[in-house]
């Protein structure tokens, strides 16, 4: 392994690189869902929003030659899909889980339909910041190619965590999620709060989709997401509805996903199906380790139907 390879050291490095490369869509979708769920609503349709975001970002980047405009449009599309979900859920006797699943199928189907002409062409990609300039090792430099959206995702996670705890706006969102009665008593329109929170959550998921199609893997096709939006929604429960923990969970998930190819690339080839399942096994193990029969899920918003 002397000729350009790092041998066994390549594995932790690849996991770090994997965390940086793969986790961004998880970060955006999970903090978006986190915000939505803190307001007392579940949006299972974010997989559809993610795919729609990926498709529209790619299409716009292709048409205008500007990937950042693509990101903006993806956020807009996500916003609209979030608003649609919120709007439907506000109608009487509507179940938000069922609506979410409906919107997931709608979003992916619509994206596949509209995305047909974009499969072949090559759209311009988002650039990356080179944080590995200090190193002589090409692998380290490659691992530290950081996309702006990744940085934005980290900033957003901390900002959202702070805002939920320390601003009046954040308090109102939590109030709508914890107790509708209390919110009504102080004159807060729960419907409007949830509409806004769900729309912003959708916009985040749209940006996550833009990352997929415009940076990594960086092209549009129908297998692009393969369920990442759904996994990210599950990560929110794993992260106990805390944006910063959503960030850690996403990073962990990205790193675990890099284990299988990294091990195979240094010649550990037995049982790669098992290593491919590492992210899920890890999540499950952590869930079991942190749960307790003495208390219910800590941090769960009181109005959230799914965990009542």
């Amino acid at each position: 392994m002397a000729d350009g390879g790092l041998g066994i050291w390549g594995v932790p490095l690849a996991m770090l690189a994997g965390a940086i490369r793969v986790s961004t869509p998880f970060i955006f979708v999970s903090i978006g869902e986190c915000l939505t769920e803190r307001s007392g609503r579940i949006n299972l349709g974010l997989e559809g929003t993610l795919v729609m975001g990926a498709m529209s970002a790619y299409g716009v980047a292709l048409g205008t030659d500007s990937p950042w405009l693509g990101v903006l449009v993806a956020a807009g599309v996500g916003l609209l899909m979030g608003a649609l979900h919120a709007g439907i859920c506000q109608l009487p006797r509507v179940n938000d889980i069922a609506t979410g699943i409906g919107l997931m199928l709608f979003g992916t189907g619509l994206a596949f339909f509209l995305g047909k002409p974009f499969i072949q062409p090559k759209a311009p990609n988002l650039g990356a910041i080179d944080l590995g300039w200090w190193s002589d090792i090409p692998q380290v430099r490659q691992a530290l190619q950081v996309n702006y959206l990744f940085v934005l995702g980290i900033v957003l996670a901390f900002a959202l965590a702070w805002a939920l705890q320390n601003t009046r706006w954040g308090m109102i969102v939590r109030l709508a999620g914890e107790s509708v009665d209390a919110a009504l008593a102080i004159g807060v329109s729960v419907g409007r709060v949830r509409l806004i929170a769900t729309s912003i959550g959708g916009a985040f998921a749209g940006i996550g989709g833009a990352f997929l199609s415009l940076y990594y893997p960086g092209s549009w096709n129908e297998g692009l997401s393969s369920g990442q939006g759904l996994m990210a929604v599950a990560l929110v429960i794993f992260a106990r509805w805390d944006p910063v923990r959503c960030l850690w969970a996403s990073l962990l998930f990205g790193a675990a996903g890099a284990i299988s190819p990294a091990l195979q690339s240094i010649g550990v080839t037995q049982g790669y199906y098992l290593f491919s399942a590492a992210p899920y096994v890890l999540t499950l193990a952590l869930m079991i380790a942190t749960c307790s029969p003495e208390r219910s899920l800590r941090g769960a918003p009181g109005e959230l139907g799914a965990v009542k």
Binding site: G4, A17, Y216, G218, G223, P261, S265, Y272, S276
Partner: protein
Amino acid sequence: MSDKFTIGRRGLLGGAAGAAGAAALGLAGAANAQKPLVVGFIYVGPRDDYGYNQAHAEAAAVLKKMPGVKVVEEEKVPETVAVEKSMESMINMDGATLLFPTSFGYFDPHMLKMAVKYPKIQFRHCGGLWTQGKHPMNTGSYFGYIDEAQYLSGIVAGATSKSGKLGFVAAKPIPQVLRNINAFTLGAQSVNPKVTTQVIFTGDWSLPVKEAEATNSMIAQGVDVVTCHVDSPKVVIETAERAGIFSSGYHCNQAKLAPKGYLTGAEWNWERIYVDMVNAMKAGQAPGNFVRGGLKDGYVRTSAYGPAAAPAGKEKADAAKLAILNGSLAIFKGPLKDNKGNTVIPAGTSYVATEPKLESMNYLVEGVVGATS
């Protein structure tokens, strides 16, 4: 351009309107004495995926230009009972008399079931192992020995690589995939015996993020030429180009995706098979039941060399191509060891491309870093 294919043919068939439409079409067809030959193509994925399905769709486009031939296509048909419905609607509504269900899982039981139900319709499947006596005579299969093209790609890759490490992103360890990996490696070793091929199995045919991860982690280990066997090589080729390493294509020509690093690639050329079969149908004969061929038959080919391909590699690949064409070069010949040290082909034995043992390959040759399980 492709919008009409996304409207579910099956959805129409379900309704009463569909049934009425089918009857009307059937009558119209019977009234027309000069009715065209209708050929149906069914794809498992999108037709423009820069990969397996596109290779078939490109050949279907050639048939469309033939006089007296009408082509109907449906894409993204899962390998379930859904494909039976697609076939039935092509037969009943479009009047198709020759069907090409192109994906591996369509063959057994779906296509065989339809062949029994519609004995006058000809079914030809890509890749299935058709056996006389076991399968109906109105069915058949065709396939190309693309490992010959992979061998040539391997020569170019081996001669161009500076690190002597090649990378292969593969979906699943099935015989066709292993044969490609082995042929690619043997080709590379024929110009540089020290070459190794690193294989990463992603686990499924279309997993873009995993494919990108696999490519990146091989690049991190010093691999400087990658190729792949997945449904759509687009992600692998683009990732390699972005990292500034060389790539070798698969299924169809991906030179456009990597103008700098694309060396060459192993491509299908289904057009030959399809045109032959359509001509047979027009002449009133049944197309061949068991059609196999490689470079010599024109069923597979290599992409034009890219600017980065080493001149020595091009020369040797051209020489090897000639040797394959005149039959003096066998890719799989003894003594050949697998990467666990077992002899898989004894000295003195040499397999021609048609050898059935090659179609059940379950090993990786010496020099491949990877395992089949």
